[in-house]
């Protein structure tokens, strides 16, 4: 069982269908007799519904039904909530948590622009949309809370009145002795940093198709979700159906990035309509709906202080953190605690105190997006470190050399829990090595040498560094079923959903090696709840590690069964039988080789005799990971700033990263690139903007600026490989990392470029208008 495929840059097996336009995304799912749903969404951020008149809509052409909360009252169950602290975390930290469930349709009030008020079902999408416009609602606008810090104060308009406050999560956490650290410091640096609201923005929006089978009393729903098993659980409990009567299928996904890992009202409304009407129903979100109702993300404020010695050694860290939850606290401690668990990163800081408030406001709910708290917290930390370096006149690279945890200090125990409740202990890596590798690749010293001369000519170039250590592949498990069929071909089914990461290739690589079959003999299916009983889904950089190891475990079990059967067939001892390239053979006797199909077929009982073994060549595994593995990276950005326009050009971008053992280096590079691009968007362009009334001002891709090929430089990647001891394959998670450091690295580079002006970058995105204003203020 060698590693023939694991580690190889195998071309992706899903590509031909995508290249031919033969992928099947949600909107490509067609069923006979399909009806189409459209939604009326709240036009106010906070308003009471006094009356809804639907008569005109009901009699509009093509309309089959119009549903308000009152029409579906018996079906309206609270939507799922997540993010209770696991036991190990609850034992260590006293969390104040308030969660109020959302209902799929507004009952008597709307809490954000875009919340669903009514559903129309018609024979075409256009007619459903026409009719939705004909619904009349008497709204009574109510006071709104839009600023997270003001919303946290007493007397602010309340999002959920029963709470008596807008604070959804609050806690304080400390390690070491922060008072002593600050008291003994030579210097204290304090600053407040703002991270804007920006989002995953998959190119394919969300959608659902639901088919109700009256005969079987069973629901099949295609949903562009990253978490089909979660959607299944939510539907089974809301609809009162057995789990096996609810099949959720994630078709090809046009990107996910976390946006499609949240639970949504439409997940329930489309199936409910299909059941009530006894007809298949489809809904595909348009971009405007996506922008106002798909989960938003990021949006934090950090008032951070670093205490340090004159030589730059950081002694202590204090941070007061606010997080804007939007209207519902769906994710509990997930984002706030992720933020805290990643604040220190690669730095050797033993004394920390954080005070955290996650606050509800009248805006679209916030959910994890690629990085989930890490880009925000790394921005605060790495900006603070740069600021400290500037104050102490130490080079930003040098201050990091002095503070990064060394490889010989690993495993490094923080003395606090990770978000999963297990001890936060860095498993493997070499952060200083990543720093040096990134600096070298980016020609840091050479850049510095040329910088002053360029400045003298009026060319403002800067270089910026950011490093992170990321808990990846959160457990507790992923499910995988592996079966060998009559033709000796292999089916792998897993709960992990492929949203572009190449699972059909990388998981086949894992399987082909573990089983000893050619890659072409393996089919991978992800995200179909009928394929594997229990699953979790794709998010949190977890699928490679969790599904990969489950697939390997299941393959090892199936392999043992095949070896036993082959031994009986070949009349050899099982210990002498091997499987390679889809053939079973007695070791040292090549002529004995038989294809796996023969082994399977010989195991099937015939009229004449029983099979050579039980024809059970199937296994399901739920590999349990003890806790997360820690991936890490250092990013270096080179920028040029046009001080006349405030325009920032990214000249170079270097990533030196460790994600443990790599299944497919091509896919790894692609993941890093994509993450960086999204981070660049967050650094320079992307922002969901609301006015004081809670109206969303960025409702189209003309207002919300996703980077194009013109904004991104070629991306340079250096691979370091420190296998994780925490799973048999030695892997670490990868998907999110690229998105974590760009805001910090780029902001550091901009501030570096503008040293002569003394510009302070305290907020992203660093748009030309903002930067120009900063330059003018200081000039």
């Amino acid at each position: 069982m060698g590693a023939k495929y694991f580690g190889a840059a195998v071309r992706r097996r899903e590509d031909p269908r995508f290249l031919r336009g033969e992928g099947r995304y949600l909107d490509d799912v067609k069923v006979a007799g399909l009806l189409h749903a459209a939604f009326l969404r709240a036009p106010y951020a906070h308003a009471a519904i006094r009356a809804i008149r639907t008569e005109r809509a009901r009699s509009a052409p093509g309309v089959v039904a119009v549903f308000t909360f009152a029409d579906l009252e018996t079906w309206m169950k609270p939507l799922p909530l997540f993010g209770a602290p696991p036991p190990g975390l609850a034992a260590a930290i006293a969390f104040e948590i308030r969660q109020a469930p959302q209902f799929a349709l507004c009952r008597d009030r709307a809490r954000y622009v875009g919340e669903i008020v009514a559903m129309v079902v018609a024979d075409s999408r256009a007619r459903a949309e026409d009719a939705a416009e004909a619904i009349e609602v008497d709204w009574e606008p109510l006071p709104v809370a839009t600023d997270m810090r003001q919303a946290a104060e007493a007397g602010a308009p309340l999002v959920h009145e029963a709470w008596g406050t807008n604070v959804g999560v609050a806690f304080t956490h400390a390690i070491g002795n922060v008072e002593a650290a600050f008291a003994g410091a030579d210097v204290v640096m304090s600053e407040t940093f703002h991270i804007q609201r920006y989002v995953g923005m998959p190119l394919e929006s969300r959608g659902a198709v639901a088919v109700w089978d009256r005969r079987d009393g069973a629901l099949t729903t295609w949903n562009s979700t990253q978490v089909s098993h979660f959607v299944q659980q939510g539907l089974a409990s809301a609809l009162g159906l057995p789990h096996h009567k609810v099949r959720v299928i994630a078709p090809d996904l046009g990107g996910g990035f976390g946006t499609k890992a949240s639970g949504y009202p439409e997940d329930h409304l489309v199936p409910i309509a299909a059941i009530v009407l006894g007809r298949p129903v489809k809904w595909v979100e348009d971009r405007r709906e996506h922008m106002m109702s798909a989960a938003h993300a990021r949006h934090q404020i950090h008032a951070i202080s670093l205490a340090a010695r004159r030589d730059g050694t950081i002694l202590g860290l204090r941070d007061r953190i606010w997080l804007d939850l939007g209207a519902y606290n769906v994710w509990g401690i997930v984002l706030p605690y992720n933020t805290v668990a990643h604040l220190i990163g690669p730095h050797r800081i033993r004394n920390m105190r954080v005070d955290v408030q996650a606050v509800t406001t009248h805006k679209t709910p916030n959910a994890p997006y690629r990085g989930a708290g890490r880009p925000e917290t790394v921005f605060a930390m790495d900006r603070a470190v740069d600021r400290l370096a500037r104050e102490l006149k130490i080079d930003p690279a040098e201050i990091r050399r002095r503070n990064y945890i060394r490889a010989d200090e690993l495993p490094y125990d923080f003395g606090m829990p990770y978000r999963d409740g297990n001890p936060l202990v860095y498993d493997s890596g070499d952060f200083p090595a990543a720093l040096e590798a990134a600096l070298k690749a980016a020609d840091y010293d050479e850049f510095r040498r040329g910088q002053a001369a360029l400045r003298a000519r009026g060319v403002y170039r800067g270089i910026g560094i950011s490093g992170y250590v990321e808990g990846t592949a959160i457990g507790p498990f992923e499910g995988a079923t592996v079966k060998v069929d009559l033709g000796g071909r292999v089916l792998v089914a897993t709960g992990a959903v492929n949203s572009g990461q190449g699972h059909e290739t990388s998981f086949a690589q894992v399987c082909a090696d573990a089983l000893g079959v050619p890659l072409e003999h393996v089919t991978v299916v992800g995200g179909d709840t009928a394929g594997v009983p229990f699953g979790v889904g794709t998010f949190a950089s977890r699928s490679g590690v969790t599904a990969g190891n489950s697939i390997a475990d299941a393959c090892h079990q199936v392999r043992a069964k095949l070896v036993k059967a082959a031994a009986a067939l070949l009349e050899a001892a099982p210990g002498d039988v091997d499987i390679e390239d889809g053939q079973a053979f007695v070791r040292g006797v090549p002529a004995s080789a038989v294809p796996l199909a023969r082994v399977v077929q010989a195991s099937i009982p015939t009229f004449a005799k029983p099979g050579v073994a039980s024809p059970d060549f199937e296994a399901t595994a739920y590999h349990h990971v003890p806790t997360v593995t820690f991936a890490s990276a250092v990013h270096v950005a080179q920028v040029e700033v046009d001080v006349g326009t405030g325009h920032v050009t990214l000249l170079r971008y270097v990533v030196a990263h460790d994600c443990g053992k790599v299944i497919n280096p091509l896919i790894v590079d692609g993941q890093v690139h994509g993450g960086v691009a999204q981070g660049v968007g967050g650094a320079l362009y992307e922002e969901m903007v609301y006015d004081e009334q809670g109206q969303l001002l960025t409702g189209s891709l003309m207002d919300y600026l996703v980077p194009t090929a013109m904004e991104l430089p070629p991306l340079e990647t250096v691979h370091l490989e420190f296998p994780s001891p925490r799973n048999p394959l030695g892997m670490k998670g990868l998907g999110e990392g690229g998105a974590i450091s760009p805001p910090a690295a780029i902001a550091n580079a901009i501030e570096d470029a503008l040293q002569p002006f003394g510009v302070d970058i305290t907020a992203t995105p660093v748009s030309p208008a903002r930067l120009l204003a900063l330059i003018r203020e200081t000039a």
Partner: protein, 157 residues
């Protein structure tokens, strides 16, 4: 509104269909002709996912009405490969990992095809400019640029 009859050629095949005047070209391709390879990303002309070739030139099929296409010749992604053989641009995207989720890919392939026919030996800067109207949220464009550069050698003029 009353449907109108249109005749057009898509991927070399002639179609006669009656369409509602408000039906966009992309909806027509996807729903009436069942050519679902052309994708809808924004329906407001920014993302380029819906790009098809109209008489050889890239256009955004979400910004055109099907009735405007009477007599037109349209190429969609389904018309690129030659039977089992992928088009050289498709091959290059595969070879260079120029796609992840694949949702932007059809639009990019068609944009690249039209571009390479007029710029057989483009610089990277020209490639980036040519695809600046096609958003990709997955790849960071690096491998897309690699793929188009590589394809430049092998594209039929």
């Amino acid at each position: 509104m009353t449907p109108r009859l249109i005749r057009l050629t898509v991927n070399g095949r002639a179609y006669t269909r009656s369409v509602e005047p408000r039906t966009t070209l992309v909806d027509f391709l996807r729903d009436d002709l069942d050519l679902t390879g052309t994708h809808v990303g924004c329906e407001h002309g920014v993302c380029g996912a819906c790009t098809v070739l109209l008489d050889g030139q890239p256009v955004r099929s979400c910004l055109l009405f099907a009735i405007q296409l009477d007599g037109a010749v349209v190429t969609t992604v389904e018309g690129l490969a030659d039977g089992e053989r992928l088009h050289p641009i498709q091959e290059a995207f595969r070879e260079h990992h120029g796609l992840q989720c694949g949702f932007c890919t059809p639009g990019l392939l068609l944009t690249a095809k039209a571009f390479l026919e007029e710029h057989p030996a483009p610089s990277d800067g020209e490639i980036r400019e040519a695809i600046a109207g096609n958003l990709c949220r997955c790849t960071g464009y690096h491998f897309i640029v690699d793929a188009i550069r590589a394809a430049a050698g092998g594209v039929r003029r």
